[in-house]
Symmetry: C2
């Protein structure tokens, strides 16, 4: 059962925060949905926004500025949490492992296995819940920032039947080859690296590509360029002749000032492909 935690009028629509008992994650999960004014009159397409390390459902909801653009284009947006949380859920002292750092995988190793099933949670459980509870049609787009950009790219390429449009903001582009990735994939999936490649956007792109075109924005002054490895993904896109735009944005860093600046472009991108 879903319970509404809060609702605020925003740009003529409804910014809703809700919680539910997740079967996949075996704990209570909180998420946010913005419904544009057009949802009062019928079903609308939906954009999934996956957040980065340390974030909850709240950061992009309050700082991303997505609502204005979603209201203009008539599409909903969902902000899931980035991991299971709460009593009995494993954690780590580091900011980049455990709670707030689910990496959008299904953990197979203890202590993470009992709750850290974020891949299944996003692609199945919350997907179905959102379709059931809100006036959403079957057109889904997906995007995300940093760890969430990694999530968006890997989830979309592995589920081309469930998502019809794809973009990312400063994604962790090649986690099997980065300290943002090797540590977490090892902890969640074990040391056999052959199990990691299904969660690496660059490797997935080389193997499968994406059915449509992809929009990537990356700040040229991002303080985490060494960990994100955009060059791996951009090279893979070029080698595969993958349709899309990889934009290096001069002067921008990794913050929500970067995300909010280009939020309008991404919402328009998805709206055009989902409507």
């Amino acid at each position: 059962m879903m319970e509404v935690v809060s609702e605020n009028r925003s740009f003529g629509g409804r910014q809703i925060v809700a919680k539910h008992n997740s079967t996949a994650c075996n704990t209570e999960m909180t998420f946010a949905v913005y419904l544009p004014p057009q949802a009062e009159d019928g079903e609308v397409p939906v954009l999934w926004y996956l957040s980065g390390l340390t974030c909850t459902h709240e950061n992009a909801m309050t700082k991303g500025g997505f609502q204005e653009h979603c209201a203009r284009h008539g599409i909903a947006i969902v902000f899931p949490d980035t991991s299971p949380r709460g009593e009995g859920v494993a954690n780590d002292e580091a900011y980049d492992l455990g709670q707030g750092a689910g990496f959008y995988v299904n953990a197979t190793c203890d202590p993470w296995r009992p709750h850290f099933q974020m891949y299944q949670y996003i692609t199945e459980e919350l997907y179905d819940l959102v379709e059931k509870e809100f006036p959403i049609n079957d057109r889904h787009g997906i995007t995300g920032h940093s760890m969430g950009g990694h999530g968006a790219l890997t989830i979309a390429m592995r589920n081309p039947d469930r998502y019809q449009s794809l973009s990312a903001f400063a994604p962790i582009a090649n986690p099997t080859n980065s300290d943002w990735g090797r540590k977490q994939l090892s902890a969640y999936l074990g040391d056999d690296e052959t199990n990691w490649s299904a969660h690496d956007a660059t490797l997935l792109l080389e193997q499968h590509g994406w059915q449509g075109d992809i929009l990537i924005d990356q700040g040229a002054s991002d303080q985490f360029l060494d960990l994100l490895k955009p060059e791996a993904l951009s090279a893979a896109m070029a080698r595969r002749r993958q349709a899309g735009s990889f934009r290096m944005q001069a002067g921008y860093d990794h913050s929500y000032y970067f995300v909010s600046t280009f939020a309008g472009d991404h919402v328009a991108w998805h709206a055009e492909r989902l409507s």
Copy 2:
């Protein structure tokens, strides 16, 4: 001396946070300035945004969504703090008195008098500092939310030579007649109520009015309507035939979802009058 704390590229411009030793408040003060792209080529007008109870310079900077609109219209925006802070600065356990609740007055009573000089800080010290340090011309507008709406209205009406445009979001409209006002004005200014009227927007409007037109937005579902008393201000505007728009927005509450929804209208309002 001013010191830059951080700078982030945002919508082609620069979101700057800075601190300085304030003479008026006798402590270090932090504030934020957003410079639109047009400020690279010359001086631009500036909009002052005064925040509400419990806020710092940061809340509206991160959640208001003003940067996009300021970039489009080519005006800067300043987000001051709402009170002095730090070691040796008096405080109160209540959220609505002391730090985070300066009410934009010059305190004459102890323990507040030594630091709580927010009226002078905003209208003189920070005003001059911003003109000196940034590419700002002499066209200033002022707005604010809740306690900051009170600040904007009272400061503008008392300084018509320093501000050329005026608006407010859900202002505390009649503080001499509200629990959001009587407690604070008594603490900061003493029990002689004749000293309070210079800090009450409704009373100032009745006595002086405003030289231009005023834009007020108020959420009809605001949870603090009983404390804000919009009816006092709207009646005073009508009685005085004050030029302006008082808009009651159906469904909106007191949150930043309300502020961000109408931020674009307010920036456009000021830009039109300042350019």
